[in-house]
Protein backbone atom coordinates (compact mmCIF):
# COMPACT_ATOMS: atom_id res chain seq x y z
CA UNK A 1 0.00 0.00 0.00
CA UNK A 2 1.54 3.29 -1.11
CA UNK A 3 0.49 6.26 0.99
CA UNK A 4 0.91 9.92 0.11
CA UNK A 5 0.55 12.35 3.01
CA UNK A 6 0.06 15.93 1.90
CA UNK A 7 1.24 18.40 4.53
CA UNK A 8 -0.17 21.85 3.94
CA UNK A 9 -0.43 23.44 7.39
CA UNK A 10 2.87 24.70 8.71
CA UNK A 11 4.28 25.40 12.17
CA UNK A 12 1.11 24.37 13.96
CA UNK A 13 2.07 23.62 17.57
CA UNK A 14 5.62 22.78 16.49
CA UNK A 15 7.09 24.56 19.51
CA UNK A 16 4.92 22.73 22.03
CA UNK A 17 5.39 19.42 20.29
CA UNK A 18 9.05 20.02 19.43
CA UNK A 19 8.34 18.64 15.99
CA UNK A 20 5.65 18.68 13.32
CA UNK A 21 3.05 16.16 14.43
CA UNK A 22 2.20 15.09 10.90
CA UNK A 23 5.81 14.50 9.88
CA UNK A 24 6.17 12.65 13.18
CA UNK A 25 3.06 10.55 12.55
CA UNK A 26 4.26 9.60 9.10
CA UNK A 27 7.70 8.69 10.40
CA UNK A 28 5.97 6.49 12.99
CA UNK A 29 3.91 4.86 10.25
CA UNK A 30 7.12 4.29 8.28
CA UNK A 31 8.70 2.67 11.32
CA UNK A 32 5.70 0.32 11.38
CA UNK A 33 6.22 -0.71 7.79
CA UNK A 34 4.02 1.76 5.94
CA UNK A 35 5.25 2.85 2.52
CA UNK A 36 4.68 6.57 2.95
CA UNK A 37 5.67 9.55 0.87
CA UNK A 38 5.30 13.20 1.81
CA UNK A 39 4.17 16.12 -0.29
CA UNK A 40 4.83 19.54 1.23
CA UNK A 41 2.51 22.22 -0.06
CA UNK A 42 1.59 25.79 0.79
CA UNK A 43 3.49 27.18 3.74
CA UNK A 44 4.75 23.72 4.66
CA UNK A 45 7.34 23.95 1.88
CA UNK A 46 9.22 26.19 4.30
CA UNK A 47 10.06 23.08 6.32
CA UNK A 48 12.57 22.27 3.57
CA UNK A 49 14.72 25.30 4.32
CA UNK A 50 17.99 24.24 5.95
CA UNK A 51 19.24 25.82 9.11
CA UNK A 52 15.98 26.91 10.70
CA UNK A 53 16.54 27.86 14.32
CA UNK A 54 13.68 28.09 16.78
CA UNK A 55 15.92 28.01 19.85
CA UNK A 56 15.62 30.46 22.72
CA UNK A 57 11.88 30.53 23.44
CA UNK A 58 11.13 30.90 27.13
CA UNK A 59 8.09 31.77 29.23
CA UNK A 60 9.43 33.12 32.48
CA UNK A 61 12.06 30.59 33.42
CA UNK A 62 10.45 27.77 31.44
CA UNK A 63 12.54 27.27 28.35
CA UNK A 64 11.75 25.11 25.34
CA UNK A 65 14.41 22.47 25.83
CA UNK A 66 14.44 20.93 22.38
CA UNK A 67 13.11 23.30 19.73
CA UNK A 68 11.84 21.71 16.54
CA UNK A 69 14.38 21.05 13.81
CA UNK A 70 11.99 20.41 10.98
CA UNK A 71 14.62 20.53 8.26
CA UNK A 72 16.53 17.80 10.08
CA UNK A 73 13.32 15.79 10.52
CA UNK A 74 12.82 15.92 6.77
CA UNK A 75 16.41 14.83 6.22
CA UNK A 76 15.82 11.88 8.55
CA UNK A 77 12.70 10.90 6.61
CA UNK A 78 14.67 11.05 3.37
CA UNK A 79 17.41 8.95 4.95
CA UNK A 80 14.70 6.44 5.89
CA UNK A 81 13.87 6.16 2.20
CA UNK A 82 10.70 8.27 2.43
CA UNK A 83 10.17 10.28 -0.76
CA UNK A 84 9.61 13.93 0.13
CA UNK A 85 8.14 16.16 -2.53
CA UNK A 86 7.52 19.90 -2.41
CA UNK A 87 5.28 21.91 -4.69
CA UNK A 88 7.56 23.86 -6.99
CA UNK A 89 5.28 26.87 -7.39
CA UNK A 90 4.86 27.18 -3.61
CA UNK A 91 8.64 27.25 -3.22
CA UNK A 92 8.95 29.91 -5.91
CA UNK A 93 6.11 32.04 -4.53
CA UNK A 94 7.87 32.13 -1.20
CA UNK A 95 11.20 33.03 -2.84
CA UNK A 96 12.99 30.14 -1.23
CA UNK A 97 16.43 29.83 -2.80
CA UNK A 98 17.00 26.45 -4.40
CA UNK A 99 20.35 26.04 -2.66
CA UNK A 100 18.73 26.59 0.74
CA UNK A 101 16.67 23.42 0.63
CA UNK A 102 17.31 20.11 2.32
CA UNK A 103 19.09 17.70 -0.01
CA UNK A 104 16.86 15.07 -1.52
CA UNK A 105 13.64 17.10 -1.71
CA UNK A 106 11.96 16.44 -5.04
CA UNK A 107 10.13 19.35 -6.61
CA UNK A 108 6.71 18.65 -8.07
CA UNK A 109 4.77 21.11 -10.17
CA UNK A 110 1.12 21.75 -9.37
CA UNK A 111 0.24 20.42 -12.80
CA UNK A 112 2.07 17.23 -11.99
CA UNK A 113 0.17 16.54 -8.74
CA UNK A 114 -2.80 14.66 -10.27
CA UNK A 115 -0.55 12.26 -12.10
CA UNK A 116 1.62 11.82 -9.01
CA UNK A 117 -1.44 11.06 -6.88
CA UNK A 118 -2.39 8.27 -9.27
CA UNK A 119 0.68 6.33 -8.10
CA UNK A 120 -0.70 6.02 -4.57
CA UNK A 121 -3.29 3.76 -2.98
CA UNK A 122 -4.06 6.21 -0.19
CA UNK A 123 -3.84 10.01 -0.35
CA UNK A 124 -4.29 11.82 2.94
CA UNK A 125 -4.28 15.59 3.23
CA UNK A 126 -3.35 16.79 6.73
Amino acid sequence: MKILSIVDTAYRATLEEQDDTILWLNHALRNNGAEVSILLSGNAVNYAVRGQDAAGLAFGDRRVAHPPRLDEDLARLIAAKVAVFAVEEDIRERALPADSLVAGIEKLSRAGIPEAIERFDQVWRW
Binding site: M1, R12, T21, A28, L29, N32, Q122, W124
Partner: protein
Protein backbone atom coordinates in the same frame (compact mmCIF):
# COMPACT_ATOMS: atom_id res chain seq x y z
CA UNK B 1 -23.15 -0.17 -5.67
CA UNK B 2 -21.29 -2.29 -3.17
CA UNK B 3 -20.82 -0.59 0.16
CA UNK B 4 -17.60 -1.48 1.93
CA UNK B 5 -17.80 -2.82 5.43
CA UNK B 6 -14.68 -1.33 7.02
CA UNK B 7 -14.14 2.37 7.47
CA UNK B 8 -11.27 4.15 9.21
CA UNK B 9 -11.61 7.80 10.16
CA UNK B 10 -8.76 9.93 11.48
CA UNK B 11 -9.72 13.12 13.30
CA UNK B 12 -7.66 15.84 14.95
CA UNK B 13 -9.81 18.72 16.13
CA UNK B 14 -10.46 19.23 19.83
CA UNK B 15 -14.11 19.48 20.90
CA UNK B 16 -16.10 22.68 20.55
CA UNK B 17 -13.63 24.30 18.18
CA UNK B 18 -14.44 23.19 14.66
CA UNK B 19 -17.19 22.21 12.30
CA UNK B 20 -15.26 19.03 11.56
CA UNK B 21 -16.38 17.44 14.84
CA UNK B 22 -20.05 17.20 13.96
CA UNK B 23 -19.20 16.24 10.39
CA UNK B 24 -16.93 13.43 11.48
CA UNK B 25 -19.41 12.10 14.04
CA UNK B 26 -22.21 12.21 11.47
CA UNK B 27 -20.14 10.14 9.06
CA UNK B 28 -19.37 7.65 11.82
CA UNK B 29 -23.05 7.55 12.84
CA UNK B 30 -24.11 6.84 9.26
CA UNK B 31 -21.60 4.05 8.93
CA UNK B 32 -22.67 2.45 12.21
CA UNK B 33 -26.30 2.55 11.10
CA UNK B 34 -25.19 0.39 8.18
CA UNK B 35 -23.64 -2.05 10.62
CA UNK B 36 -20.13 -1.33 9.42
CA UNK B 37 -16.85 -1.77 11.25
CA UNK B 38 -15.64 1.70 12.04
CA UNK B 39 -12.24 2.54 13.48
CA UNK B 40 -11.67 6.05 14.70
CA UNK B 41 -8.11 7.24 15.26
CA UNK B 42 -8.31 10.34 17.41
CA UNK B 43 -5.08 12.28 17.05
CA UNK B 44 -3.94 15.41 18.85
CA UNK B 45 -6.81 17.55 20.18
CA UNK B 46 -9.44 15.01 19.21
CA UNK B 47 -8.39 12.81 22.14
CA UNK B 48 -10.20 15.33 24.35
CA UNK B 49 -13.54 14.43 22.81
CA UNK B 50 -13.97 11.42 25.08
CA UNK B 51 -12.93 13.01 28.37
CA UNK B 52 -15.14 11.81 31.20
CA UNK B 53 -14.94 15.11 33.05
CA UNK B 54 -16.78 17.12 30.39
CA UNK B 55 -19.74 18.92 31.92
CA UNK B 56 -22.73 20.68 30.39
CA UNK B 57 -23.42 24.21 31.54
CA UNK B 58 -26.10 26.86 31.79
CA UNK B 59 -26.37 29.67 29.29
CA UNK B 60 -26.44 33.10 30.91
CA UNK B 61 -26.99 34.87 27.58
CA UNK B 62 -30.08 32.81 26.89
CA UNK B 63 -31.03 32.70 30.56
CA UNK B 64 -31.23 28.93 30.63
CA UNK B 65 -30.29 26.62 33.46
CA UNK B 66 -28.07 23.62 32.98
CA UNK B 67 -31.16 21.47 32.71
CA UNK B 68 -32.90 23.77 30.25
CA UNK B 69 -29.86 24.28 28.06
CA UNK B 70 -29.13 20.56 27.74
CA UNK B 71 -25.74 21.51 26.39
CA UNK B 72 -24.26 18.65 24.36
CA UNK B 73 -20.94 17.20 25.27
CA UNK B 74 -18.85 15.30 22.79
CA UNK B 75 -18.34 12.52 25.33
CA UNK B 76 -22.12 11.96 25.33
CA UNK B 77 -22.33 12.03 21.56
CA UNK B 78 -19.59 9.44 21.38
CA UNK B 79 -21.25 7.35 24.09
CA UNK B 80 -24.29 7.49 21.85
CA UNK B 81 -22.25 6.14 18.97
CA UNK B 82 -21.06 3.21 21.08
CA UNK B 83 -24.68 2.50 22.05
CA UNK B 84 -25.71 2.72 18.39
CA UNK B 85 -23.05 0.21 17.44
CA UNK B 86 -24.42 -2.23 20.02
CA UNK B 87 -27.95 -1.75 18.66
CA UNK B 88 -27.07 -2.30 15.02
CA UNK B 89 -24.49 -4.99 15.44
CA UNK B 90 -21.81 -2.66 14.12
CA UNK B 91 -18.36 -2.34 15.65
CA UNK B 92 -16.84 0.92 16.81
CA UNK B 93 -13.18 0.90 17.74
CA UNK B 94 -12.29 4.36 19.07
CA UNK B 95 -8.55 4.76 19.49
CA UNK B 96 -7.06 7.77 21.26
CA UNK B 97 -3.41 8.34 20.36
CA UNK B 98 -1.62 7.65 23.62
CA UNK B 99 1.06 10.31 23.50
CA UNK B 100 -1.56 12.90 22.60
CA UNK B 101 -3.57 11.71 25.63
CA UNK B 102 -0.58 12.05 27.92
CA UNK B 103 0.36 15.59 26.96
CA UNK B 104 -3.24 16.77 27.26
CA UNK B 105 -4.05 14.94 30.48
CA UNK B 106 -6.99 13.37 28.70
CA UNK B 107 -6.61 9.88 30.10
CA UNK B 108 -9.90 9.69 32.02
CA UNK B 109 -12.38 8.74 29.35
CA UNK B 110 -15.89 7.35 29.06
CA UNK B 111 -16.22 3.60 28.62
CA UNK B 112 -15.43 2.41 25.12
CA UNK B 113 -12.39 4.26 23.77
CA UNK B 114 -8.96 2.70 24.09
CA UNK B 115 -5.44 4.00 24.07
CA UNK B 116 -3.41 3.33 20.96
CA UNK B 117 -0.72 4.52 18.62
CA UNK B 118 0.04 5.21 14.94
CA UNK B 119 0.61 1.47 14.59
CA UNK B 120 -3.07 0.87 15.39
CA UNK B 121 -4.08 3.45 12.80
CA UNK B 122 -1.96 1.74 10.16
CA UNK B 123 -3.31 -1.71 11.06
CA UNK B 124 -6.87 -0.39 10.70
CA UNK B 125 -6.06 1.27 7.39
CA UNK B 126 -4.75 -2.02 6.03
CA UNK B 127 -8.09 -3.69 6.79
CA UNK B 128 -10.31 -0.86 5.58
CA UNK B 129 -12.35 -0.43 2.45
CA UNK B 130 -12.24 3.32 2.92
CA UNK B 131 -10.13 5.80 4.88
CA UNK B 132 -11.06 9.39 5.67
CA UNK B 133 -8.54 11.80 7.16
CA UNK B 134 -10.14 14.96 8.54
CA UNK B 135 -7.29 17.31 9.36
CA UNK B 136 -7.16 20.34 11.58
CA UNK B 137 -5.90 23.72 10.53
Amino acid sequence: MTIGKNLTVAIMDPPYESATTATALRIIDAALRQAQVVTVFAYEGAVSMTMKAQQPHANPVKGTTVEQEEHPTTKDWIAGLFALARQTGAKLDWINCGLCVDERGAGETIDGPRRGSPKDFFEAVKLSDGVIVIPTH
